[in-house]
């Protein structure tokens, strides 16, 4: 087994270029926020029917991916897989970066972002949102402590395992809270389902690991460091299992809804009506984000190349975005059923399928969140000893079967 040496990344011209691009996106997001705050949300595509829009899709994707990005570290510290240990610091850093990016989008889309201090000081504990404020802030603290004990000298492995376990439990609670934002909305047919919490957890496993592989796969060549093909293959195999698990939970969610007559109309709207949400579901979520990458990663898994694993990760991220768009926007596009068995009309779009077209400002805000996550992760690896000099296959436990 190789001795793992961690070194700061030297800022090469390629890294500077990435930083400039990320800064440009962050700047554009800042301008978009100022514009929206000055004019009000009238300049966005959101309205009184679709009250949460594209920024929420970005924000929740990043928050879900954040907890999942911690997987690699958890597998090392909590479940004792030594091959993952050299990647654990990066896993922790990336999870913090993604959460920061997601939260930035979420709070900057508030009607009154200047009142963030109110959200931090006044808590209504029947609100899962209020609990999430605590869970999100706590995640920074717990994962920060986890990074510290990994990086500090003379810390006992037992302490690392204990803090790692705390971080693992915390991330499960965090994603439960995020899924329950929708699961506990009793009035809307697209939500109101206990499966939302476990679905979001398995989504986080999948999207977070995909993001981790993608960033690792691009950072290493960019910094001239080596990563072993078998390590990538093993991460890919795990990702394939997660992608199948997401498909399974998705199938159960929709089958359960289809069984209940009261949810039939909503399911037909999402699954069969041929609108944007149907396309996003079957083509984006199931095919691009599920079946194709799962087949790439699990069929002949022993022959998977690094390139294929990275491509599959990209597909899972695209599919994950489609998945969240379907849940968040699709769930609001379908009208509330206040009067079952009645056709309804009003000046307030009752009974109508609600339209949503995001504007450039929403795109800018969402992309700014991604850029912020990349910027934080990049600054982290430049300033701290996060990335190992190499990720050799020799770290893989020789007693474990390959495939």
């Amino acid at each position: 087994m190789d001795r793992t040496v961690y070194r700061e990344v030297k800022p090469t011209p390629a890294i500077w270029l990435m930083a400039v691009i990320a800064a440009a996106f962050i700047g554009a997001a800042g301008l978009a926020v100022l514009y929206i705050e000055h004019h009000g949300h009238i300049v966005t595509g959101m309205n009184n029917q679709i009250v949460w829009g594209l920024p929420h899709v970005f924000a929740i994707f990043l928050i879900v991916a954040a907890s999942g990005a911690l997987n690699v570290a958890s597998i090392a510290s909590v479940f004792g897989k030594i091959e993952n240990k050299p990647m654990a610091r990066y896993s922790g850093l990336l999870s913090i970066a993604l959460l920061a990016g997601g939260l930035a989008v979420l709070v900057l889309d508030l009607g009154r972002p200047d009142r963030l201090i109110v959200a931090m000081t006044k808590y209504n504990f029947t609100s899962i949102f209020a609990w999430n404020v605590i869970l999100y802030n706590g995640f920074f603290a717990v994962v920060g402590a986890y990074l510290f004990v990994q990086m500090a000298r003379n810390i006992s492995p037992k302490v690392v395992k204990s803090v790692g376990t705390a971080a693992f439990v915390w991330r499960l609670a965090l994603t439960t809270g995020t899924g329950s934002i929708f699961g506990w909305l009793v009035a809307r047919p697209g939500y109101d389902a206990a499966i939302m919490a476990p679905l979001f957890i398995i989504m986080s496993f999948s999207f977070g690991l995909a993001f981790f592989i993608l960033v690792l796969g691009t950072t290493f060549p960019l910094t001239g460091r080596y990563i072993g093909p078998n390590l990538v293959k093993r991460l890919g195999r795990l990702l394939g299992v997660f992608a199948v698990a997401v498909l399974y939970f998705t199938a159960i969610r929709h089958l359960t809804n289809l069984y209940a007559a009261e949810h039939g109309d909503f399911e037909r709207f999402i699954l069969f009506s041929g609108n944007i949400y149907t396309k996003l579901f079957w083509i984006g979520q199931v095919l691009i984000g599920g079946v194709i990458p799962a087949a790439m990663l699990l069929r002949h898994a022993e022959n998977t190349t690094k390139g294929q694993v990275i491509l599959a990760s990209v597909l899972i991220i695209i599919g994950g975005f489609a998945h969240l768009y379907g849940i968040i926007i699709g769930g609001q596009a379908f009208p509330l059923e206040i009067f079952p068995m009645y056709e309804v009309t009003s000046t307030f779009a009752d009974g109508q399928i609600n339209n949503y077209t995001p504007t450039i400002y929403e795109w800018a805000l969402g992309m700014g969140g991604v850029a912020l996550a990349v910027m934080i992760a990049g600054m982290g690896v430049v300033a701290l000893r996060i990335l190992p000099m190499n990720l050799s296959d020799r770290n893989i436990d020789p007693t474990e079967p390959d495939f």
Partner: protein, 252 residues
């Protein structure tokens, strides 16, 4: 000073403690001294007038509500200063008329829809800061001081009764403080109720001669509304959710 027993922790006591007394005084002063400038209310001062013995509610007789009548909507708009401005997707609508047609029988009906002032309001449950709150007399309001504009209450409301203020507001009414970036909905004309009057929509409905809307104290067995509810069948919308709306409908 003994505080009344609370049924729900989100409810606020009617009697004033010292802090609320000063807040109330400050709010009254700001309303008086600089109307239209510092009107960001519906906090402790709005709660202070609530009587915990009452539960204000409404009974709407759908048979008496005319399809082509919009008097309740117009009255609410004028009373509270919101208006339709040509952007139906983003304009606020505290109250709206809904036309119904049964899919099988073809029966047609029309009714007003507004905040249903639920006993267990989902909007209050989900609000992270407690800005959505229910007074002890059952009126559900938004405290404009601490609404952060997250819109989770709009996601949670079973009746689509809430609007988000999408743009700058001019010509506000002093009795209905509003603010860009916050959420709002029917207040049951709390300012009128606290002054012993009925909501503007009910008053205007009576003035048209239709008399489809009745307002009163659901807790008072001798009130006209309690008697009507006792003697005639009625229903709350989405009764399956068990949120127990304060607004009831009959002949639906």
């Amino acid at each position: 000073m003994k505080l009344p027993a609370l049924n729900n922790k989100s409810e606020r006591p009617a009697e004033l403690n010292r802090r609320e007394f000063f807040k109330s005084g400050a709010a009254v002063a700001s309303v008086t001294l600089a109307p239209g400038v510092t009107l960001m209310a519906f906090g402790g001062e709005a709660s202070a007038n609530a009587d915990p013995g009452k539960r204000w509610g409404m009974l709407i007789d759908v048979n008496k509500c005319s399809t082509d009548c919009n008097a309740c909507v117009t009255a609410c708009s004028e009373e509270n200063g919101w208006k339709l401005d040509g952007n139906p997707e983003t304009d606020p609508q505290w109250i709206r008329k809904i036309d119904l047609k049964h899919k099988e029988t073809g029966r047609e009906a029309s009714l007003p829809m507004m905040c249903q002032h639920c006993e267990t309001p989902p909007c209050v449950d989900v609000c992270p800061t407690g800005a959505s709150f229910k007074r002890v007399d059952g009126i559900v309001l938004v405290d404009k001081h601490i609404c952060i504009g997250c819109r989770y209450c709009m996601m949670a409301c079973p009746f689509k009764a809430r609007s988000f203020v999408h743009e700058e507001i001019e010509d506000q009414k002093s009795n209905a403080p509003r603010g860009k970036g916050t959420v709002e909905s029917c207040t049951l004309c709390v300012h009128r109720v606290d002054a012993g009057r009925v909501p503007a929509c009910v008053e205007s409905c009576s003035a048209t001669g239709n008399g489809a809307m009745m307002f009163g104290d659901l807790n008072d067995p001798n009130s006209e509304i309690a008697q009507a509810l006792k003697n005639y069948p009625s229903m709350g919308l989405r009764d399956d959710l068990r949120v127990n709306p304060g607004v009831r409908y009959t002949n639906l």
